[in-house]
Amino acid sequence: MPHLTLQLGPAGPLLDVIIGVSAPRQTALRQAGQAIPTPQIARALIDTGASVSAVDPAILNVLSLSPTGQMMIHTPSTAGQPHACNTYDIHLTLSHPALSFYIGALPVIQSSLHHQGIQALIGRDVLGNCLLVYDGRAGIYILGF
């Protein structure tokens, strides 16, 4: 499997991803004669504790997205009671000069993450298609896709 070997930093397994409107929305925008928002580069944390991926509202706002779904989520502060959360359809590219992985339509939730120095969480919905090896002793992680 093609893979990347990347350095672990103090904040964990980070990588840059490209986030844009989903492929079907791109088609709809084009047919409506509207401009397709420029895809955004986002600093993302690979988070095995997130069952779905999340994106900072600053990114979603630039892409002028409206919700197209809703899911129930639990966090440590929801106190055992799941909460409904809107989802937005995006395309996601895990990008590296040596390798890239593209998902044309991915539902994500919105969450303010910028105060943590990141703009996206890559959750297990994406990791389900990847190989992830976390080698803390060597200070590296391996991501294959």
């Binding site: 492929a23 929305r25 088609t27 440590p76 359809d89 339509a105 939730i109 969450s111």
Partner: protein, 81 residues
């Protein structure tokens, strides 16, 4: 934004019993209308944009018991309805 799909979610609840015959598939809803069910999220989304253009629509997996997703870190309340 929490109410953006209120009509579509109400429609889902109203039709849920009959939709459960196709549990696991993804339903496409626009306003009070169920437009179809599809085998994948991508297919439902594609048809949604083809039929509804840029108007609001809902894509939702049909489930008898709603799947709950987990985050080990807290998320700000803005996400939550």
């Amino acid at each position: 934004m929490a109410d953006a799909l209120a009509t579509e979610l109400k429609t889902y609840e109203e039709h849920k019993h009959e939709l459960l015959a196709e549990e696991g598939k993804f339903v496409l809803i626009h306003g009070a209308n169920v437009l179809g069910t599809y085998g994948t999220y991508e297919d439902a989304l594609k048809i949604g944009y083809e039929k509804c253009k840029l108007e609001p629509f809902l894509v939702k997996q049909i489930q008898a018991v709603e799947q709950v997703h987990y985050f080990s870190r807290d998320l700000p309340a803005e996400c939550l309805t």
